[in-house]
Amino acid sequence: MMGNGKGASVPLSVRKGLLIAALAAVALLANAAADPPRKKTLGLAITAWRTALYETPDGKEECPDGLNLGGDQIWLATLTPEQKDKLTRHGTVETTQLRDYALERGPHGEDVCWNPAVVKDPPQKTVQGKKSFGINLDGTEDGRATSKTCGHEKFVTPDGSKGIDNQWYRVIGCTYGWRAAGGYTEEMPNGELRDGGHPILVEITGIDDLRNSKDVQVAFFHATDGMIKDNAGRILPNSSYRVAKDYLYATRGRIVDGVLTTNPIDIHFPFYAHFMHSERFIKDARLSLNLAADGKSAAGLVAGYYDLDSFWSYMARIGELFTVAHFDCPALYEAVHRLADGYPDPKTGQCTAMSAAFGVEAVSGYIIHPDTKTAGMSQPADQVR
């Protein structure tokens, strides 16, 4: 402390305090001078869903034992030559026409897709390769069992990221109907979606910058308006979508170098497939979306734990596609239950959900909330251009 008693000198603490106050005042002024940048909103409509399935052209890497047989093929193998000859009327009837026989072959004539445990078929051929798309969902590096997960093997992404959880891929990756060549099972619903279907909408608000935003809010809606295509069949950006009143999921996320990632949240995703309304219930669902720089499209993953009951209620209803998609309900049912890795049942310890990743594509759109006034709607200056 300076001072010789003559003349009042400011004590250091006070001086410090004044300095701090002065600095604070300067900071306050500086903040007041610069207006906070306006936060922006981006609306997206998801135009396609596909199981994110890593495959090689000849399939040998991931499916060294070949692809799965359809239930009809498996059933045919159980017939004697005489039975086969009689049923196919000396080979003049296509075996795919005998689908109902293959379906209803439980011991009491049960449909084996609705009752998959009543017969025991050769096991599902699962993925043997090491690579897969997806996300590290359980936070471990080695897939060991935790309080919320069952022990399982992990994958590496094609570009080298380790610790990927994707048991759904493991189960289905060697099944024709989900691979590129036979992708009817998932392309048909995408087609139905594009033909005026009602997309899932993702609304990202609180965006500072489309490339980098530390904290954004992400809400999921279900559109009640259909998508509009151009003359080449592509979905057009800038469409307007009204939302269903009773559907809303909200979480937070961040955008880093143009990639949006979100915090996990349980979501039921409705979809229309093969002339039926269905849904995917995904627990701990998260987005990993690459946002295009012009704000007009996005693509990436929706990953999480796909609830098995939700999964099977869909599979049972599309069971009759086994002839064209080459799957077998009993084998598939057994495999998903054996390989499930999430949400163990407290009583049995059996995991009830499987890690999964779906590739999604999205196109920008205006999300119209029910409380928006219909008259005098102005150009929203807060929309991402």
Binding site: D225, I228, Y366, S378
Partner: protein, 556 residues
């Protein structure tokens, strides 16, 4: 004749309505016209005659735009062989529906003695009722007789009463009396030596102007009773028609003609360059502008000039994609206001203008500038000269030619080109922020667009100011009056109508540039019904009809 008290009241009311302005000047009128019905007029007429569910399937020959309007082209239009073939086909299809089991109970007023043979009495009842409606004037006795004879002969021949009716009906729908809107005249007792439209032609002219369709029963009755020759009676009908929701149909038809919407039929945008411009957009673009017009000019009784500055419009789902705005009800039409500083202001910035007057894959300042001049200002731009030298425009080595403005600068500096391009390009260049599909952009080829321009010495920047310039230009309103009157009579204004046109323009201004008031001014005037002698005989009204004595024409 001593004016009655009611007459005085009417005069006072008229003065009150029109203020103490000058009274209507004398007018020579113009020659009588014979106009082919447009496709929409034909369809509206069939719907009024037989109901909206009668299908009219076939194609109609295009009309040639003349003096800015298809309606004037209709006065020159003929019926070619292929057109007659189509009319015949359509007529037979309409007639077959009218007499079919779903419709005959409503549309045929009686039942035949036997459905497999002729029944002259019932046929007569049918044609006596429908004939005057189809020809839009009373049926001559010999015409009715002939119709009955043809129909009965047909019924006997094919053993089907109703088919017999259909043959006769189809024939009626192919006659020029039906297909053409003709000005029949009679001597004018108030102006000896002159002629005027007869009451039936008055009714038709009035009805096609205000409602774009045939006269309704009330109007025909008014014609029958001589009301249309009296000032008060005429006013009563005009007010009734102006008050009706059907006025929108007539106003829409006029503006669709004036704005050149017929070219939407063959409008094509390149789907690779403009994928959002799907077929629905061409329909919705026209509808948007027509709704903007009826909302402002009829519902709000607004000032015509505000069409060029208004930011209030309606929007549909497919338009939302092109305008890049949210649409609260994407499957319908919702009111929409552009923000106060938005470049979209006025119908010139709507898709129906900027996308229509563009090329399939790019915008065109020249086409748009020409369209503003010709459509809204009635200023004819001369045709391009044949022997142009384009080498100037093709100097692409010059890096300054990135935007249309830069390219067109050469257009306007070469002497042979400048004369015309100077009056077109500056207007169009202000609209360059809208690409060939009408979508907004701020750059072209990565170069910012400069949307400044000039019209007749007045400089402006941006489309909102262009709208204001058009709003303030006196040619805008005089052009509208010119076009509306031409549309009403099927010909450009005649030399002897100069004073009358000035009077209309003054009246338009006095009434705040309101379209319904202008229509009233026209429809209740003497000038609108005056006919100047044409070279050769004018079509005379047919002889005394069997049903009613002709109106005396005296003013009450």
């Amino acid at each position: 004749m001593v004016p009655s008290f009611r007459h005085c009241l009417a005069v006072v009311a008229a003065l009150a309505l029109f203020g103490c302005g000058p009274s209507e000047p004398g007018s020579s009128g113009g020659p009588p016209q014979v106009r082919r019905l447009t496709e929409e007029q034909y369809r509206n007429t069939i719907a009024d005659l037989f109901g909206r569910d009668i299908k009219v399937a076939g194609h109609f020959d295009p009309l040639n735009r003349t003096d800015g309007l298809l309606e004037i082209g209709a006065a020159r239009a003929a019926i070619t062989s292929s057109a007659f073939e189509q009319y015949d086909l359509i007529a037979r299809q309409i007639a077959a529906q009218v007499v079919d089991e779903d419709h005959r109970d409503v549309l045929v007023p009686c039942s035949p003695a036997s459905p497999t043979g002729a029944d002259a009495a019932c046929a007569r009842a049918f044609f006596a009722r429908i004939g005057p409606q189809i020809y839009r004037r009373p049926l001559e006795a010999k015409t009715l007789d002939r119709l009955v004879e043809v129909s009965c002969g047909a019924a006997s021949s094919v053993h089907d009463f109703y088919a017999g009716l259909a043959f006769g009906l189809a024939g009626m729908l192919e006659t020029p009396e039906f297909l053409f809107l003709a000005d029949y005249t009679e001597p004018d007792p108030d102006h000896p030596g002159q002629r005027r439209l007869d009451v039936w032609s008055r009714a038709s002219r009035l009805s096609f102007l205000l409602w774009n369709s045939m006269p309704d029963a009330a109007l025909m009755q008014a014609a029958q009773d001589g009301e249309l020759n009296s000032r008060r009676g005429l006013r009563r009908q005009v007010e009734r028609m102006l008050d009706s929701p059907r006025l929108a149909q007539g106003v829409r038809a006029f503006f669709a003609d004036m704005l050149g919407f017929d070219t939407f039929d063959t409008l094509a945008k390149d789907p690779i360059i403009y994928p959002a411009f799907v077929q629905q957009v061409t329909d919705d673009a026209q509808e948007q502008t027509l709704r903007t017009i009826t909302e402002l000019l009829i519902a709000k009784k607004g000032d015509y000039r505000d069409l060029f500055t208004t930011r209030e419009t309606v929007i549909s789902g497919s338009l939302g994609l092109v305008y890049d705005v949210p649409v609260a009800k994407p499957d319908g039409w919702v009111p929409y206001s552009f923000a106060v500083d938005d470049p979209r202001a006025g119908i010139i910035t709507q898709l129906s203008f900027v996308a229509l007057h563009s090329h399939p894959g790019r915008s065109s300042a020249t086409l748009r500038g020409k369209a503003v001049r010709e459509i809204f200002l009635c200023q004819k731009v001369p045709d391009p000269p044949g022997n142009v030298n384009f080498s100037l425009v093709q100097d692409t080595k010059n890096p300054n030619y990135k935007t249309a403005r830069q390219r067109l600068t050469a257009h306007r500096s070469a002497p042979t080109c400048a004369g015309c391009h100077k009056i077109m390009d500056p207007m169009g260049l202000a609209l360059e922020n809208f690409d060939g599909a009408g979508q907004y952009r701020t750059t072209e080829n990565d170069t910012p667009i400069d949307a400044s321009g000039e019209v007749d010495g007045i400089k402006f920047t941006g489309t909102a100011e262009l709208g204001k310039v058009v709003h303030d230009n006196p040619a805008t309103t005089s052009c509208l009056v010119n076009r509306l009157y031409g549309y009403a009579v099927g010909r450009p204004p005649a030399a002897g109508e100069k004073d009358w046109m000035k009077y209309l323009q003054a009246g338009f201004a006095e009434n705040g540039y309101r379209i319904p008031d202008l229509l009233r001014l026209i429809a209740t005037s003497d000038a609108f019904y005056a006919i100047a002698p044409a070279p050769g005989p004018a079509p005379a009204a047919p002889g005394r009809s069997a049903s009613a004595p002709p109106p005396t024409g005296a003013r009450s």
